[in-house]
Structures are given as structure tokens and as C-alpha cells.
Symmetry: C2
Subunit: 110 residues, 2 copies
Amino acid sequence: MESTFAIIAEPSRRAILSLLATSERSVGDLEEELNLSQPSVSKHLRVLREAGFVESRIDAQRRLYRIKPEPLMEIDAWLAPFRRYWSAHVDALERHLDQMNPAPRRKGRK
Amino acid sequence: MESTFAIIAEPSRRAILSLLATSERSVGDLEEELNLSQPSVSKHLRVLREAGFVESRIDAQRRLYRIKPEPLMEIDAWLAPFRRYWSAHVDALERHLDQMNPAPRRKGRK
DNA sequence: CTTGAATATACTCGTATGGTTATATAACTG
DNA sequence: CAGTTATATAACCATACGAGTATATTCAAG
């Protein structure tokens, strides 16, 4: 019953997706890169898998997860009607992000 | 404490934004176009306003709400790293959306 | 077949959030 | 000012969801 949008509302799930954007990873990889408990990672991956954001392949005892783009494409498509507001405000985003992101770039936090 | 993504996780809020994408509307307009209670609309608008998705101007007793693009631009920006998956799958989205959206197109109705 | 590593699942708990009803505030109308 | 329209806010409730702990499952190694 979770919508595509609800799925990426969760910060840990977005973090997982961002890591997978670069390359395939195992549960353990994600666990340590994100400082999350193993059950937590598995649970999020389950949600992501059932919603079609990721798929896994088996490598011995490990599962390697990778991105499946369709749901993200759906979100991209939803944004379409709003894009006409963009061009006028090309650099408004930078200002906005600056004020959201106090520190320029920090490793994974506490 | 609501993230940009959490805000648009709510279906009614997405509906409000989609309506506002076309044109400015009053609370009453939204209320009837979406079949929501007035307090519910006001509450969602408050969340959207505080997160910078919309702004309002006063017209007598009515408040006219309109889109502010910045947070949506932020989401658009977040999608950037995944766009490299798009091109390969140009029409995969259509298939995906078809299977999500059973009926092709229906008026807003209750 | 036993052990250990990697991952999945079950269960419980606390909290955040959306809906509703009722009430408050504000502005126009006469 | 009284009445009415438009919107906001408050209080309450039910539910959903993420975190954590414990346990189950699967596979490789010896």
C-alpha cells in the first residue's frame, strides 16, 4: 500500500538508493556504509525490492542489490508539469539548497 | 522536521500541488476539486507552505495559493545521479505506469 | 553434519501523522 | 454592529511505520 513517493520519503532508503546509484552492493556493504543495523537494512531493502526500486542477485551467501529505474522514472515524470517553473529560477535552487544544507559536506554523521 | 520528500509522500498534498501547477487556487477551490474537508486542506497547505512548496496571497477573505518551485527542484536534483539509468529504458516507464494505473484517464471525481 | 557467516523475518514498542469535529479568527455585506 | 463567508487552529483518535532484539534460514567450509 506504499506509494512510490512514500518509499523514498524514508532517509535511509534514499541513502541506500544513492549508494546503489554508483554500484551494486551487498547488505553488509550497506550496513557498514550507512551505520545501520542489519535487520534495518534488510527491511528497507525488502520495501525497495517489493516496490521495484531494486533487484538482487545471489552471490554465495550474499545478495547483491542494484537499482531498477522504473519507479524513479515515475517520480521524474510526476515532476514534469512543474518544470515550467524551473527555467525562470535556475539559481534559486542553489540558494535553497545552501540554506537547507548548513555544512557543505560531512561524512555519515553521528 | 518533515523532509522535502516526506511532504510529497502524502497523496492529497501531491494532488494539491498538481492542481496548483496549472493555476493559483483558493482553499475552497481545492476543497471541492479534491473532495477533502476544509480543515484537511488547510492543514496540508500549512505543511506545504512551511516547507516552501507554496505561498499564498490574500484576496479579501480568501487565500490564493500558488506553487513555489524550489523544493521540487531539490527533488529533481536528487534524481540526477539516477538519470543515467533512464536512456536505456525509455519506454520501460510506460509499461510500468500502465501496470500501476489500471484506468487510462478519469475525471477527478470522488 | 556441525559451525559460522550473511541475510531474512517475527514481534514488540513508541511515535508521528492524517482525519474528524468543534471552535476561533478575519473580512465582507448590509 | 450583526450575520455570513472563508480560512485557520485545537484536541482527540486511530493507524502506520521505523527501530531494536531475538530467531530463522541459507550456504559455504571443513
